[in-house]
């Protein structure tokens, strides 16, 4: 099939069929051993699992060479033994979406900020800092965005008490019953 | 040619005052039976006794003259505010509600909670809605009048008074027919414009004295806009004066009372809107819409980001005064347009009967005048509620760069028409 991005690329509004396999192949060629896991989940979706050190390199390759211009979403997941910062990056030219899972150790929740590549990372990373406590180094304005400025906790972490744990405790339960 | 219902306001009021004096006189005579010293006072009020005693007619006594003038002014004020203002507010609220596909205000006498108006089985809020404005006025009266803490108290309190009083001054010189007026000034139009132009000062004072960033911006914008639109307004009137040769509203209407072109029984009257003054008419109407602060020109007042603009800090009846007198200015503006361009109170020829040489009106001049005022206002309301608001710098653009050249053009057209003999003065 033809190259993923032609020199005179224009947004046609339709996706290119079979593009996910090509994208996966190109990524494997460039980043082979550094990808912990790479697969095609379904049509138009490629998933990569990488360590946090390769994040900027992978994303720069995606944006500059493969034409993935739209950073759709930045998620952070608390897996209790490590964090994972998940990026969904979309290509408007061929409709393909790449999901980059970057693994972060639990005691050092820092990862490089992508604000140099996409300005959409501005608010999205601030939200993840605010709710999950993953620090994005290099972000110019890493302040709380949804919660008040002086809030002390990162609520989405699993150690922050869940709603059912904070529920009203009946007097019967307090007295030792069920 | 139609006839006024009130041929001379002063004389009508004098008749009223003399009738009241007669009633008081009878009471005084009856009391004089008990208290003899009152006989002198009763005779002072009695025209027959005065003639017998050689004292001169009652009507020339200073006291009676002063009371008559006060009653005449009160009649005009009540006519303008209590009757016309309420009706105009009702017309506006009903009309724009119907434009918006809803019923509009519906509180009327059938909403009153006492007999005979509290109907057992019929809905109370399905009337014509005339009493709604009175209800709103009473609501505003009973609200607390809050003064902001750091506001300039004297200026804050005086500016609604300034706005209201300058608006009411207009009605001293504005005639409602060829007899229903308080003062017949030779420079009547000039006086009316002067009174109109006092309001921007009041608005600026109001905006500044409330100690609020938003009202200040609103007041400044209002002052800028109103100053900008005074000029084309007055220039169009200057163009009109070329034709009329007089600033007296009665003269101007009398000049428009003749037919311009006749098609047998029908004729087009010589209204100035049908003359080369049509350009002046358009410029004057647009400027008047801006002066009345109606949408599309209502940036100072109901701007989306300025909450209520310069009236934000007013509450209670101060707000009611400022808010309600916007409609009074609309009535005055529509009256000016009617007098200057649309023939004022002159109606078609066949609306008068001649009874013993005295013209008796079938449809009096006041009725024609009111009809014209309300039609012009309805057109203004219609435009207001159908278009978005124009931004302040665009408004000033239109005022300075488009309307002033057009009004100057109207002057040149008027001068050319006179010089070439197309139209003769008067």
């Amino acid at each position: 099939m033809s190259a993923v991005v032609t020199t005179s690329a224009s947004i046609t509004g339709r996706s290119v069929p079979g593009i996910e396999k090509e994208v996966l192949a190109q990524l494997k060629v460039v980043f082979g051993p550094k990808l912990k896991d790479a697969k095609v989940v379904r049509e138009r979706l490629v998933e990569l699992v990488i360590d946090r050190a390769e994040l900027v390199a992978v994303c720069t390759y995606l944006k500059d060479t493969l034409g993935f211009e739209h950073l759709s979403c930045v998620t952070a997941v608390d897996w209790k033994d490590h964090f994972e910062s998940i990026y969904h990056i979309e290509n408007y030219y061929n409709g393909c979406m790449v999901q980059v899972n970057a693994q972060i150790p639990y005691d050092d929740p820092k990862i490089a900020s992508l604000i140099g590549l996409w300005h959409a990372a501005d608010f999205l990373e601030r939200e993840m800092w605010d709710l999950m406590g993953v620090e994005y180094t290099g972000h110019p304005n890493l302040k709380r965005i949804l919660l008040p400025e002086d809030f002390k906790f990162h609520p989405l972490r699993k150690e922050f008490a869940q709603e059912v744990d904070r529920q009203y405790i009946t007097r019967r339960k307090l007295r030792g019953g069920k | 040619m139609s006839a006024p219902l009130i041929p001379n306001l002063f004389e009508v009021c004098e008749v009223l005052v003399l009738a009241i004096v007669w009633v008081i006189d009878q009471i005084l005579y009856a009391l004089a039976g008990l208290i003899p010293p009152l006989t002198g006072l009763a005779q002072w009020f009695d025209p027959v006794a005065r003639q017998r005693l050689g004292m001169g007619p009652l009507g020339s006594e200073l006291l009676i003259v002063v009371i008559t003038w006060l009653i005449a002014v009160t009649v005009i004020v009540i006519w303008a505010t209590l009757v016309n203002l309420l009706t105009m507010m009702w017309v506006e609220r009903k009309f724009y509600s119907r434009l918006q596909d809803r019923y509009g205000i519906m509180i009327s006498i059938w909403s009153l909670p006492f007999w005979p108006f509290n109907r057992a089985r019929r809905p109370t809020h399905r009337g014509t809605g005339y009493l709604q404005n009175i209800a709103d006025g009473v609501k505003l009266l009973q609200k607390e009048n809050i003064t902001p803490r750091n506001a300039d108290s004297a200026m804050f309190h005086i500016s609604p008074v300034l706005i209201a009083s300058s608006t009411l001054m207009i009605f001293a010189a504005l005639p409602w027919s060829s007899g229903f007026y308080v003062a017949n000034l030779d420079l009547g139009i000039l006086f009316i414009f002067a009174a109109f132009s006092l309001a921007p000062l009041g608005i600026l004072i109001a905006g500044w004295s409330a100690n609020n960033k938003y009202t200040l911006v609103g007041g400044l914008r209002a002052a800028a806009m109103l100053m900008a639109y005074e000029i084309p307004m007055i220039l169009s009137v200057i163009a009109l004066v070329f034709f009329t040769g007089s600033l007296n509203p009665l003269t101007i209407v009398r000049q428009q009372d003749r037919p311009l072109v006749s098609f047998g029984a029908l004729s087009i009257p010589a209204w100035y809107v049908f003359s080369p003054q049509i350009l002046g008419f358009i410029v004057f109407s647009v400027s008047m819409m801006a002066e009345m602060e109606r949408i599309p020109f209502d940036i100072p007042e109901a701007e989306a980001e300025l909450v209520e603009g310069w009236t934000t800090e007013y509450s209670g009846m101060r707000f009611g005064l400022v808010f309600g007198f916007k409609w009074l200015r609309m009535i005055a503006g529509a009256a000016l347009i009617a007098i200057l361009y649309l023939g004022g109170w002159s109606g078609p020829v066949f609306t008068t009967l001649s009874v013993g040489g005295v013209p008796v009106p079938i449809v009096p001049e006041e009725a024609w005048f009111l009809l014209k005022i309300y039609l012009i206002s309805v057109v203004f309301i219609w435009i207001s509620w159908s278009v978005p608001r124009v931004r302040i710098d665009q408004i000033l653009n239109i005022g300075w760069k488009k309307l002033i050249p057009y009004s100057l053009g109207a002057i040149i057209i008027a001068a050319a028409a006179i010089a070439s003999g197309l139209w003769s003065v008067g």
Partner: protein, 364 residues
């Protein structure tokens, strides 16, 4: 005159919803802007971790309460991708009809809010009057006018009632007539409207993509991206419709955003009429979803305001492990300073109104 910061909000009659926009003005010109959000933050992502998969639909309805079916549908799609189940065909067509009806209702609410922003108070009442038609249709279909709890993981809650198609056709016919005769004239053919919205609030296509703007705001910049065409879900591949992209150049201002969103009203009507013809007349509309699930699923849909993305991770329990909600207005809000800079203060309300902010989905 020194520059100073003005607070527009959080209590303001014309910023729809509860958020604060700080603008720095120099005289009348805006030199900088800083949105402050989070006043309506309800902790959705945390709450959704302790509810069963199906019970979360009640919550996702209320994310953007004006456009609730689209958000619940995005969530259900994400959970279905995670579980690996697929809605039967009639269920997919019913979902399309529901989505487009909700899109029209949401755009009409935006229109009703945009009119008064500009001073056109009549637009409020007319648009709400038409919205009643569609709320009636949605009530006929799902039982409620707002926050309907209609999509289910695996389909929809109930089938369309018998008189739905007739009533739908009648309402759409009446509505299309109104759009062409009344709304077109009062909004687009008004010179004052053009004066207020043309050239105001410009953002270039490159900036828009860089900052993550999606939906009609992006299509107004000339970028031909509509997720229903680019990454089709449900049965959008079988429907013939035209994404409304602004073609004329000089794009990205408030007028382009208005026109793109306004024309979507007509497009959605055409989609609904096509769907009513093409859908299978009988068939199952729902598949039973498993109670527990493991894996991850993501779904990207074209919400009324842009690209709504749900990312759901399950760990074998009957509740999600992590739910991530990507809201289009959240990312567009980051781009509003670019739109506001250089314009006058009086335009800021018009610009922010044309962006169509719904605070519920922005603050989660």
């Amino acid at each position: 005159m020194p520059e100073f910061w003005i607070n527009m909000g959080p209590q303001h009659p014309m910023t729809h919803g509860l958020w604060n926009m700080k603008v720095q003005v120099d005289g009348e010109t805006v030199t900088d802007a800083k949105p402050e959000i989070g006043y309506l933050h309800r902790g959705y992502e945390k709450i959704m971790e302790v509810r069963e998969f199906q019970k979360n639909v009640v919550l996702t309805d209320r994310l953007c309460y004006v456009s609730s079916i689209t958000w619940s549908h995005a969530y259900c799609l994400a959970v279905e991708k995670m579980m690996g189940i697929e809605t039967p065909e009639r269920g997919q067509w019913i979902r399309v009809v529901a989505l487009e009806l909700q899109r029209i209702a949401s755009h009409l609410m935006w229109l009703a809010a945009y009119g008064p922003d500009l001073g056109l108070l009549t637009g409020l009442l007319w648009a709400l009057r038409e919205r009643e038609l569609f709320l009636d249709l949605i009530q006929l279909m799902s039982g409620a006018r707002m926050n309907q709890n209609y999509p289910r993981v695996g389909g929809v809650r109930n089938d369309l009632p018998e008189n739905f198609e007739a009533m739908c056709r009648r309402s759409i016919e009446h509505f299309l007539e109104k759009v062409d005769n009344e709304y077109q004239r009062v909004f687009q053919e008004s010179k004052v409207f053009h004066m207020r919205t043309e050239g105001v609030g410009k953002i270039s296509a490159a900036d828009a993509i860089d900052w993550g703007v999606t939906g009609p705001n992006l299509r107004a910049c000339g970028v031909n991206v509509d997720l229903r065409r680019l990454d089709p879900y449900e049965v959008y591949e079988e429907i013939d419709f035209e994404p409304q992209v602004w073609h004329d150049g000089g794009a990205g201002d408030s007028y382009a955003r208005f026109v793109c969103r306004f024309n979507e009203l007509r497009e959605s009507c055409q989609i609904i009429l096509q769907a009513l013809e093409k859908m299978p007349k009988t068939g199952p509309y729902r598949v039973k979803a498993p109670r527990r699930a493991e894996g991850e699923g993501y779904a990207k849909t074209e919400d009324s305001r842009g690209e709504a993305l749900f990312y759901v991770i399950g760990d074998g329990d009957d509740r999600p492990y992590r739910v991530k909600i990507r809201s289009p207005v959240f990312c567009t809000m980051a781009a509003t300073p670019i739109m506001l800079r250089g314009n006058k203060l009086a335009d800021s309300v018009a610009i922010l109104g044309s962006v169509d902010v719904c605070v519920g989905e922005m603050d989660k």
